[in-house]
């Protein structure tokens, strides 16, 4: 069996440190702002306590999840802009700045908040270049947060990246660890298209080896994190590790599962998935986004269209139900896909 591990997509040996995903994001922002003075960042509480400098207060929060800590001290309040709670205004303003010479990063605290600023993404960021016949580039990054499992209920927990994948003109990435977070964020900021960068709240505290120097990872490329021959499991963001956990369980039963970490949700690396499925003949997508009109349904459709003759079982998925995220632990634990559900689904495909 040939493994599909692409070494550049995994941390290189040596010269790395174990750091948290949150630190990797912070490091990427700081390094790129140091390298390129046109990079600016704006959002709610990204420094915190704005306007209280006369009381000696600077960087009171450093971001709701501390991913932007220290930036204002180094780069000042002209490039690190705390905003009023006005997502439509500051996301739109960042897009306007990006189309006139800046590289603008805006932070939307939770993806659930996109309703109040979706027009800026849908009708300005995504369409300007096309509508204008290529006259503008829009180097805009929207950092936002996804992920259930924290008792935050329905308006602070969704993983709605598929909303954005559906929109031509936007790109999207879902890093799964500190290494991919840093490399993909540096690529996203340097990219000339609007990119939505989805940070999973459940990954911030996780660590992995990360080089201190700058490196980029390609947008639109998946990676194989566990080679296997019997079934292809595709994970997105934190679900990659749920799939890996399930694969370890399945290994005990003699099932050798391959796990692909999708990383990009636009463009989607269909070919990486198809190459794997043509070898394993089975597909199981593990996704924390809801199941209707989603990345998981899209990958299943693509595999059915392009690898139908290779399949020994129907393309299948493990996802939350088509419901909002419930609050009670008793229900939220049911909502988020776990290794047990993945193992059960995989067994069914293997039988």
């Amino acid at each position: 069996m040939t493994t599909m591990v692409e070494t550049p997509m995994l941390p290189p040996p040596g010269e790395t440190r174990e750091i948290q995903t949150r630190e990797a994001i912070n490091e990427a922002l700081a390094q790129e702002m140091r390298r390129d003075e046109t990079v600016i960042i704006m959002g709610e509480e990204i420094a915190g306590g704005a306007g209280r400098e006369h009381l000696g207060i600077v960087d009171a929060w450093g971001g709701a999840f501390r991913t932007t800590r220290g930036l204002i001290q180094e780069f000042g309040n002209e490039r690190v802009l705390d905003t009023p709670l006005s997502e439509a205004a500051f996301v739109g303003t960042a897009i306007g700045a990006a189309s006139t010479g800046m590289r603008a990063v805006a932070e939307l605290m939770f993806v659930d908040f996109v309703g109040v600023c979706m027009d800026q993404l849908l009708n300005n960021a995504a369409k300007m270049r096309y509508m204008f016949g290529g006259q503008v580039k829009v180097p805009f990054v929207m950092l936002t947060r996804i992920g259930a499992g924290f008792g935050s209920a329905a308006q602070h927990s969704e993983s709605f990246y598929s909303l954005f994948s559906h929109i031509p003109g936007l790109k999207g990435v879902c890093p799964s660890d500190a290494y991919t977070a840093k490399g993909l964020l540096l690529s996203a900021i340097r990219d000339d298209d609007p990119v939505v960068f989805f940070e999973h709240k459940g990954l911030y505290g996780e660590t992995c080896p990360v080089p201190e120097e700058m490196y980029t990872l390609p947008l639109g490329k998946a990676r194989t994190v566990r080679p296997g021959s019997d079934i292809t499991m595709v994970g997105i963001s934190k679900m990659t590790w749920v799939a890996v956990e399930a694969a370890e369980e399945l290994a005990k039963e003699g099932v050798n599962a391959e796990v692909i970490d999708l990383l990009s949700v636009s463009p989607i690396d269909y070919d990486h998935v198809l190459d794997s499925v043509r070898r394993t003949h089975r597909l199981l997508v593990v996704d924390e986004d809801t199941p209707v009109c989603s990345i998981s349904s899209d990958i299943c459709a693509r595999v059915a269209e392009e690898a139908f003759d290779y399949l020994d079982a129907p393309p299948s998925r493990v996802t939350p139900p088509h419901t909002p995220v419930p609050y009670s632990r008793a229900l939220e634990n049911l909502y988020v896909p776990n290794a047990e559900r993945v193992v059960t689904a995989a067994r069914r495909l293997m039988s």
Binding site: P84, G92, Q135, Y270
Partner: protein
């Protein structure tokens, strides 16, 4: 500051060019089967003219669905605009934008926009760029009385005030949001009254009088350029035609009202003013500019008709700076 003779000539030339573009271009576009998304600004010429007279190509404007006048006043070539309306590849947007998305970045024109108040944050963003990079540029965000009630405008006025950005929020109040009268949809007497809520100066001027617009805009632009922050400028004006060519405005307004406003026509007002001022600009000079505008539109229509249609493969171009084309057509069973 009163406009000098050269400026006066330029003001009239801009107004008559807009008038002729609308009167010729809108029906010509309709004859080519693309009239659904074209909105005439006839009657409103004084507003973009008086405002943009204070701007250079380096300054920015964001425009509306009724934006041909903004484009012309900001210096976009009417021939290229006509090609864009006809969906031709020589349009500034290569025929992929049309009337509601005309953009010319070389002129600081950030696009007409099909979303009500849609270009406002883009103009604010351009003002932010100017402030950070110390470019000394200003931005003007045009919107209508309908746009005055959009949430994003209010967020942007607050943000621009908090950050003291060099941006002018310019409301072209033409009395109607589609068929809804402004007095029904607006909670205050004048849009400009809302400036107080955002701690910025509010100007309310007669939008049929290019001199009034020019004077107020001059003050607002000077403040912004000097780093004194944003302003809200409301120009009360009137659109002579319906919301679109399919709209009969007499279903919601009276002939008497239309006649009242047409009697205050901005081009006619300008002409009368010049005569009253002792022929600073003569009637013959004005006639000459009208004729030149008429001829320019003849040329524009011919230019647009001669411009090639976009090639089929262009459907995939300029969606992104970099993206696999295969991903755009995969699974769609496209013929190209």
């Amino acid at each position: 500051m009163a406009p000098d003779r050269d400026t006066l000539l330029e003001l009239y030339r801009t107004m008559t060019t807009i008038r002729h573009f609308e009167e010729r271009g809108v029906p010509e576009t309709g004859q080519r089967g693309m009239s659904a998304s074209v909105h005439s600004s006839v009657g409103q010429e004084a507003v973009p003219t008086g405002v943009c007279a204070h701007l250079t190509d380096d300054d920015y404007i964001g425009s509306t669905h009724r934006g041909h006048g903004h484009c012309i006043a900001k210096g976009v070539d009417p021939k290229l605009m006509m090609a864009e309306l006809f969906g031709r590849s020589h349009g500034p947007n290569k025929g992929k934008g049309g009337s509601m998305h005309i953009a010319d970045m070389s002129k600081g024109m950030l696009g007409t926009n099909g979303i009500v108040a849609g270009s406002v944050p883009l103009a604010v963003g351009a003002a932010l760029t100017s402030k950070i990079q110390r470019l000394g540029r200003v931005a003007v965000a045009f919107f209508g009385d309908g746009g005055a009630n959009q949430g994003v405008l209010h967020e942007c006025m607050n943000l621009a005030s908090v950050w003291k950005l060099p941006v002018i929020f310019c409301c072209e109040n033409n009395g109607y949001a589609e068929s809804t009268p402004v007095e029904y949809g607006l909670s205050v007497a004048n849009v400009a009254d809302r400036a107080a809520g955002y701690d910025m100066p509010g100007f309310h001027v007669d939008g049929m009088d290019v001199f009034a617009v020019y004077e107020a805009a001059g003050e607002a632009v000077s403040r912004a350029r000097a780093g004194d922050g944003p302003a809200l400028l409301e120009a009360r004006t009137y659109r002579y035609y319906g919301h679109t060519v399919f709209d009969n405005p007499l279903t919601y307004r009276t002939k008497e009202e239309e006649d009242h406003w047409r009697a205050r026509d901005p081009l006619l007002t300008f002409r009368n003013h010049m005569i009253a001022q002792g022929n600073v600009i003569t009637a013959e000079e004005l006639d000459q500019m009208d004729e030149e505008a008429r001829v320019l539109m003849e040329e524009a229509v011919a230019f647009a008709d001669a411009s090639p249609l976009p090639e089929p493969h262009e459907i995939y171009e300029d969606v992104y700076a970099d993206y696999p084309v295969d991903m755009m057509r995969r699974g769609a069973n496209m013929s190209v």
